[in-house]
């Protein structure tokens, strides 16, 4: 009886140990397969396609990558989260459906699809139905500007290669706060309302430092276009020396950490998960949701996680450039690495209280980001010969 609980040496550093990394790479390979395949096809065909159609092709390839992310990321990110959680907690996690539970999320998705479509009687039907849609739209619309590679002829592989990409990112993520607020208000439930209010306050507050930190990058690189930001980080010592995170040490390192913290807060992840704090608000803004509508919030959360991780990788960690040249896989490695860090934090740290969360933002994160921006702007200004 007792022997069935083998006394395993606890690995609180679980996600950093071998098994989850192997698993993460497996996931990564699956998700990145489609974009990489598309890239290869695009490389092979670029000589045969007339120049007028070239743009169309890059967009199509971008869409292919985008669909790969859209379709597979949430499913495998959820699986990955459960695995990371399990290994942090000295257990196995899903093991039954598929190899090491790889198909577990499909099974869960099917279950959620077949659930009854419930709208509470006293809820606002329009807001209640619209909120999950807006959540998922805002999460995935932002992926439109996430480029994941550049072809050998210089064409950017993205759905839309906006020259104001980072602005678009800042703008579109604000929609997420709206969706949470709509869900909280539309549910006509006090807990949901608390969740919605907390979410609105939190997201609005943390958008400010996010924008400042984006400005920090823009001030150094001198462009709002993400491919150009990445291009500016190419080269250097071992191919990583020019990554922004290593520039002006330690200013950009601090900037990166702050950006990551803001990303955690914007995606409502522990220790900033107060809008859905399950021990306080039951489930927060999605208390009344069930079935596929609930799943949409879930998908949006995982989409947002990957989005902020990829953005952080693109802006500070050199995106797809690295020691082995330029490769879309690198971006996915970096992005998913940060996603795993997010998960690791979630299963290790307790949750902050509302006022402490706000204090972190307004007393520490915003002033430090402002300071960073000032210093960087000053240095750049002096360098430009003021």
């Amino acid at each position: 009886m007792i022997t069935r609980f083998r006394q395993v040496e606890m690995r609180l550093m679980g996600p950093l140990t071998a098994i989850p990394i192997v698993l993460a790479v497996a996931v990564l390979g699956t998700i990145a397969a489609l974009p990489v395949l598309a890239m290869v096809i695009s490389e092979l065909t670029q000589d045969f396609i007339p120049p007028g159609l070239q743009h169309l092709v890059t967009v199509a390839v971008g869409c292919a990558g985008f669909i790969g992310i859209l379709a597979l990321n949430p499913i495998y990110a959820i699986w990955l989260e459960r695995k990371v959680a399990a290994h942090v907690q000295d257990r196995l996690g899903p093991m039954r459906v598929g190899w090491h539970g790889l198909l577990q999320s499909f099974a869960d998705g099917i279950k959620l699809l077949f659930k009854e479509d419930l709208v509470p009687k006293n809820a606002d039907p329009v807001l209640f139905r619209a909120a999950p849609m807006l959540a998922i739209v805002s999460a995935f619309a932002a992926f439109a500007i996430v480029p994941w590679g550049v072809r050998s002829d210089g064409a950017v592989l993205a759905v839309a290669d906006l020259n104001i990409g980072v602005l678009y990112f800042v703008a579109i993520t604000s929609l997420g706060a709206l969706s949470v607020l709509m869900a909280g208000w539309g549910s006509n439930n006090k807990y949901a309302l608390y969740g919605g209010m907390r979410a609105a306050a939190q997201m609005v507050s943390y958008e400010i430092p996010t924008a400042i930190l984006v400005l920090l990058v823009v001030a150094q690189v001198g462009t709002l276009s993400i491919p150009e930001i990445v291009a500016a980080q190419e080269g250097g010592f071992l191919g990583i020396g020019d990554w922004l995170i290593f520039q002006m040490f330690p200013l950009n390192l601090i900037g990166f950490v702050l950006f990551f913290i803001c990303g955690l807060a914007e995606t409502n992840r522990t220790p900033f998960d107060i809008p859905e704090a399950e021990s306080e608000l039951v489930a927060g803004f999605h208390t009344e949701y069930s079935g596929m509508r609930f799943a949409f919030f879930f998908l949006a959360e995982y989409g947002n996680m990957l989005l902020v991780s990829m953005l952080a990788a693109l802006m500070f960690l050199g995106g797809w450039v690295g020691p082995f040249g330029s490769n879309p896989l690198l971006l996915f490695v970096k992005g998913f690495g940060l996603v795993v860090v997010q998960m690791w934090l979630r299963w290790t740290l307790p949750r902050l209280r509302v006022d402490q969360l706000m204090a972190v933002c307004w007393k520490y994160v915003i002033p430090i980001s402002f300071f960073l921006l000032l210093v960087v702007a000053g240095v750049r200004g002096v360098g430009a010969g003021w």
């Binding site: 007792i2 606890m10 609180l12 522990t270 740290l349």
Partner: protein, 405 residues
């Protein structure tokens, strides 16, 4: 809301049984008419993930600030005291098990000892040793539950599972010993139901050896985490005089800095012969008597319990009949007895009034430490935030089975 909507006329199972008319709705302590602008009544529970059972807390809130809080109890009320009027002395023990259902050994121990006091009988050394071992293991299990769920209340999920893994091993030991995993019916009047099986002590020692490093690790993971300290160290402060005024006991009292432990100060079962420390709150992070102090007292107490179990195992007499003093008939000469022990959650007491030569007790009253602790809930929640309410409930370590009885 009307009755049909409330119960879900379309298929709710209770609909046909209920009155069409609602029971008079006087279960609210605050009336909506008296609310000021911006105030709201929030019902937390009875079905809430972190009220530790079916506790309902009525909060008068202004945004995130809780202006006032009133606990409503009784959702688990079974009135075992009424049942006990019709059951013989020995038969009450399973009912006492169900009071504090995560600390059953302590309950039945206290009850059995109270009846023994009525009868004027004692127990042999081996029985006393076994009782100490089971009581302390139960304390470890109970404190592990408290520690784990407290982490979860604050938002850290991992310590919960790590604690439960260890608690499971204690339950395995108990299962081997008594056949049950939660409600043991183990302590009998004058003895215990089963002697220790062969090899039980070895496995118990092995558990203790392996448990301590794990506890160290969970402790380092949770107790001194900066976020955890910020969430708990300034919250739910019970000043020492208030703790006495409300007759708190156990870790809640010691968390407020009172150096008082029945096991040392009013020893029973030979506790005076064991070497252990009484842990008190120190106010290490903020004012003394905070949630963190109460939590940390429990963590440290587990180490002390390990010490006690080790000593008890070492000095346990090899031979001895555990049924030696079990009376054939429990028929006290009359009179009354009150006895309390240091249960995991505080001082659990039983007050038994006996009729002369009757096999059933005239009156059994359980003095529940959780009931008493819950009595000061409204005092320490005023002006805190909603998240703190959860922290406070968790730090008092209540079990609703014992509050409602």
């Amino acid at each position: 809301m009307d009755r049909k909507a409330a119960t879900g006329q379309d298929g709710g199972p209770l609909v046909t049984l209920y009155d069409e008319q609602l029971p008079p709705d006087n279960s609210y302590a605050f009336s909506p008419e008296e609310l000021e602008e911006d105030e709201m009544i929030l019902n937390m529970g009875p079905q809430h993930p972190s009220t530790h059972g079916v506790l309902r807390v009525e909060l008068k809130t202004d945004g995130e600030i809780v202006k006032d809080a009133r606990p409503h109890i009784g959702y688990l009320h079974r009135n075992f005291e009424k049942h006990a009027e019709n059951i013989d002395y020995q038969g009450v023990i399973p009912f006492t098990d169900r009071m504090d259902y995560v600390g059953s050994m302590g309950n039945s121990l206290t009850y059995a000892m109270t009846v023994e006091k009525l009868l004027g009988i004692g127990v042999g050394e081996r029985v006393a040793g076994i009782r100490v071992i089971t009581a302390e293991l139960q304390r470890i299990a109970s404190h592990l539950l408290a520690m784990g769920t407290y982490g979860m209340d604050i938002g850290a999920f991992t310590p919960f599972l790590l604690c439960f893994q260890q608690r499971e091993r204690v339950l395995d030991l108990f299962e081997w010993l008594s056949g049950a995993r939660l409600l043991y019916n183990y302590n009998w009047v004058g003895g215990v139901s089963h002697d220790l099986p062969d090899g039980w002590t070895d496995r118990c020692t092995r558990f203790l050896d392996e448990f301590v490093p794990v506890l160290d690790e969970v402790d380092s993971l949770l107790s001194h985490n900066r976020i955890f300290i910020r969430r708990t160290a300034d919250v739910g402060v019970i000043p020492p005089p208030m703790a006495v005024d409300y007759a708190l006991s156990g870790p809640n009292l010691r968390g407020s800095g009172h150096d008082w432990d029945l096991r040392r100060d009013d020893p029973y079962l030979g506790y005076e012969g064991y070497d252990f420390d009484v842990i008190t709150g120190t106010g290490e992070h903020g004012p003394i008597g905070s949630c963190w102090d109460r939590y940390f007292v429990r963590v440290r107490e587990m180490y002390e319990s390990v010490k006690i179990v080790r000593q008890a195992l070492a000095r346990l007499p090899a031979e001895g009949d555990v049924h030696e003093n079990v009376p054939r008939f429990v028929r006290p000469k009359g009179g009354e007895a009150y006895l309390r022990t240091e249960a995991p959650r505080g001082e659990l007491g039983f007050y038994i009034v006996a009729e002369p030569k009757k096999p059933i007790p005239y009156r059994v009253k359980g003095r529940s430490p959780c009931f008493v602790a819950m009595g000061l809930f409204h005092e320490i929640t005023r002006g805190e935030m909603i998240a703190d309410i959860i922290a406070i409930i968790g730090s008092l370590d209540i079990v609703l089975g014992e509050i409602d009885r």
